[in-house]
């Protein structure tokens, strides 16, 4: 069996499953957020009754992250709905915006740049889940967000579901899942200076087409994997959905266990877990070998994540804006790479930076490069950095969202989706690229290969594993 088949067999208490069959799987963790949480709760109450109890209050994680720093009244109300439900059900893992659990409203008078959250707030769910010790090898993690597949980086089966399925899980702890076929990607070699995990996944999506893996599992293995950090693996698994994938998965190794164990200890989420691996004779739908050392800085042009080109071939594309943030491109290592490029230089176009979590904000304000903090380097380069960690303009959002495209601008972004309208304006154009490429492009105002811009020597990836 492939790794995905093994994970689903375990969850269904079966010794074997076959692609195409539907199993009733036990769910280890259900995550929801402020966009789909209220609707999920609504379906749960409608279907199980107003007095119904959730199946397990310790296996539900609720993370407001999408529309927090906005004056939109409905968005603010939705966080209140989550608060009421958490209180009623005794849900243990709720990462509220404020510490006292009272009603809270974003204060525009304090401006968008300075933190307006308490100590519990966790930021973007897909990054917060691993940070807070909720991602464990061997488990089934479901979330009401398509990028829930990010957690496949930790050797678990993770996928996005809708409100109705999530309500079914809230009431029963189980879900019907069809077993997908698996596409295997053997990664060999190592990424070259100036090339990042984002370039790899944009390459893969371009290669198989952005609906090429619809209803399939993506499995990554090979001798190139141990050299990828957990943040690299998260970037890759995050975008499995961008080629239609149901999930993307890496088998857990020593790197995974060290990361997971440290965070479980710190956050008290300890639960035994089991590291599964694919069988040597597993049957794959397809196999592809990718030599990481051959990859180049890659861009997904407007209007979809599969519209791939080499950054070096896109120099004629002029830009109005650059953006770094989101679950796929707003991690500590993403900002460190960006800072390495813009250090001692000034961006030529409006550039917005939104760290994914408050912990990343703190790390950026502590970690240094050449004697200055990463945060100061970014500010000095002219990047508009907000401490209000969250999803922000990755998906548009309310009109007052930080960094949103309110005009038909051309924007290069470290985010994961570039369909028409994605960042707020239906006639806008979004180009997806790695933090290195977005940084180099921000400096020139057109799509730029970071290696040409700075020379390869300066672009050794700043791999910064956060020591929990």
């Amino acid at each position: 069996m492939t790794l995905t088949e093994k994970l689903l067999a375990r969850a269904a208490d079966r010794t074997r499953v076959e692609p195409g069959e539907t199993v009733l799987a036990r769910v280890d963790v259900l995550m929801t957020h402020d966009v789909c949480g209220p609707g999920t709760i609504g379906v749960f109450k409608r279907e199980f009754g107003a007095d119904a109890r959730v199946w397990d209050a310790d296996r539900i994680v609720i993370i407001p992250d999408h529309y927090i720093f906005t004056t939109d009244l409905l968005a603010n109300r939705n966080v209140d709905v989550l608060r009421a439900f958490v209180k009623e059900q005794g849900i243990r893992y709720f990462y509220d915006v404020v510490d006292d659990g009272s009603a809270w409203r974003f204060d525009p008078a304090r401006g968008p740049l300075h933190a307006q959250y308490g100590r519990q707030y966790a930021g973007v769910c897909h990054i917060a889940l691993p940070e807070r010790g909720h991602t464990r090898p061997g488990e089934i993690l479901l979330g009401t967000d398509s990028h829930t597949c990010t957690a496949g980086a930790f050797g678990q089966f993770a996928t996005g579901i809708g409100n109705t399925d999530a309500a079914f899980v809230l009431g029963t702890g189980r879900i019907l899942l069809r077993v997908p076929v698996t596409r295997r990607f053997r990664l060999t070699g190592a990424l070259q200076p100036g090339v990042m995990a984002k370039d790899l996944i944009l390459h893969i999506i371009g290669e198989i087409g952005f609906d090429g893996a619809t209803y399939q599992a993506l499995e990554f293995d090979g001798d190139g994997v141990p050299g990828l950090t957990m943040e690299d693996r998260m970037t890759i698994a995050n975008m499995a959905i961008e080629c239609g994938g149901k999930n993307g998965v890496f088998a857990a190794d020593d790197v995974t266990r060290a990361f997971v164990d440290a965070r479980m200890r710190k956050h008290g989420t300890t639960r035994p877990y089991e590291c599964l691996t694919a069988d040597p004779g597993a049957a794959y739908y397809s196999e592809m070998t990718i030599d990481l050392s051959t990859l180049e800085p890659t861009v997904a042009r407007h209007p979809d994540p599969g519209n791939r080109a080499r950054a070096a071939d896109c120099g004629g594309i002029r830009l109005d804006r650059a953006y770094i943030g989101s679950c796929t491109g707003g991690k500590l290592s993403d900002f460190a790479a960006f800072a390495a490029v813009v250090r001692d230089r000034t961006v030529a176009i409006n550039t917005f930076g939104v760290p994914a979590t408050p912990q990343i904000v703190r790390q950026l304000q502590i970690r240094t490069l050449g004697g200055r903090t990463l945060w100061d380097i970014l500010l000095a380069a002219g990047v508009r950095m907000t401490e209000n960690a969250g999803c922000a303009a990755c998906l548009g959002g309310p009109a007052d969202t930080f960094g949103r495209l309110n005009e038909p601008l051309h924007c290069i972004s470290t985010t994961n989706r570039n369909f028409p309208g994605r960042m707020g304006h239906s006639e806008g154009r979004v180009y997806l690229a790695s933090p290195f490429t977005v940084a180099a492009s921000a400096l020139t105002g057109r799509i730029t290969d970071p290696r040409d811009f700075l020379g390869a020597d300066a672009l050794v990836a700043v791999a910064m594993e956060d020591a929990a």
Partner: protein, 190 residues
């Protein structure tokens, strides 16, 4: 919402191309609307497909000021509903009065959300319809006979939806799950 859906529909079609993603079906600025709130459900319907670029789609699915559409059937190309897991997307279409989409293929989560909510039928066809038909063409869609009949020309064969059609016809996942014993009969609440 969650009403039983007819399996035979006659009316004008609304035609879109490939890769219509969930941001075009219901842009993220409207996701603060909660679908289980009846007034917000209707508002979602009035906004269905409002994210389509106006330059490419000058005619809107739902006319300005209206809550529902005059087009009960959408014809689409490949990969309809790609992107977000937001259930707001099939719900917006269902709330607008769309009964079925006929596309060459669907994104996984959107397809599943259509079935789970019971909001609309995601029918598949091997034939490329988005160049053959124009918005406003009258058709008759028969989901029991797996057929779409235009006013003129050859009928279009649809792939059978199988069990999924029975779930939609029953009114969605929960109605179906009760009928099959996966969840207990609904508790009466005051």
């Amino acid at each position: 919402m969650n009403a039983r859906k007819p399996t035979r529909i006659r009316g004008p079609v609304y035609v879109v191309g490939d890769n219509i993603d969930t941001d075009q079906i219901i842009p993220a600025e409207h996701l603060a609307l909660v679908p289980t709130n009846p007034a917000e459900y209707r508002r979602l319907g009035s906004l269905a497909l409002c994210g389509l670029p106006h330059s490419a789609y000058p005619e809107r699915l739902v006319a300005p000021g209206a809550e529902t559409t005059r087009y009960p059937i959408i014809l689409a190309g490949r990969n309809f509903g790609c992107g977000s897991s937001r259930e707001h997307a099939p719900i917006a279409l269902g709330a607008a009065g769309v009964v079925a989409v006929v596309a060459e293929s669907y994104a996984r989560i959107f397809f599943r959300n259509c079935i789970a909510t019971g909001e609309l039928y995601p029918a598949e066809t091997a034939e490329r319809l988005c160049e053959r038909f124009r918005t406003g063409d009258e058709v008759e869609l028969n989901l029991e006979a797996y057929e779409l009949r235009p006013a003129a020309g050859a009928p279009v064969r649809l792939g059978p939806l199988g069990e999924a059609a029975r779930v939609v016809a029953a009114g969605g996942l929960f109605a179906y799950a009760r009928a099959t014993g996966l969840v207990p009969t609904r508790k009466e609440t005051s």
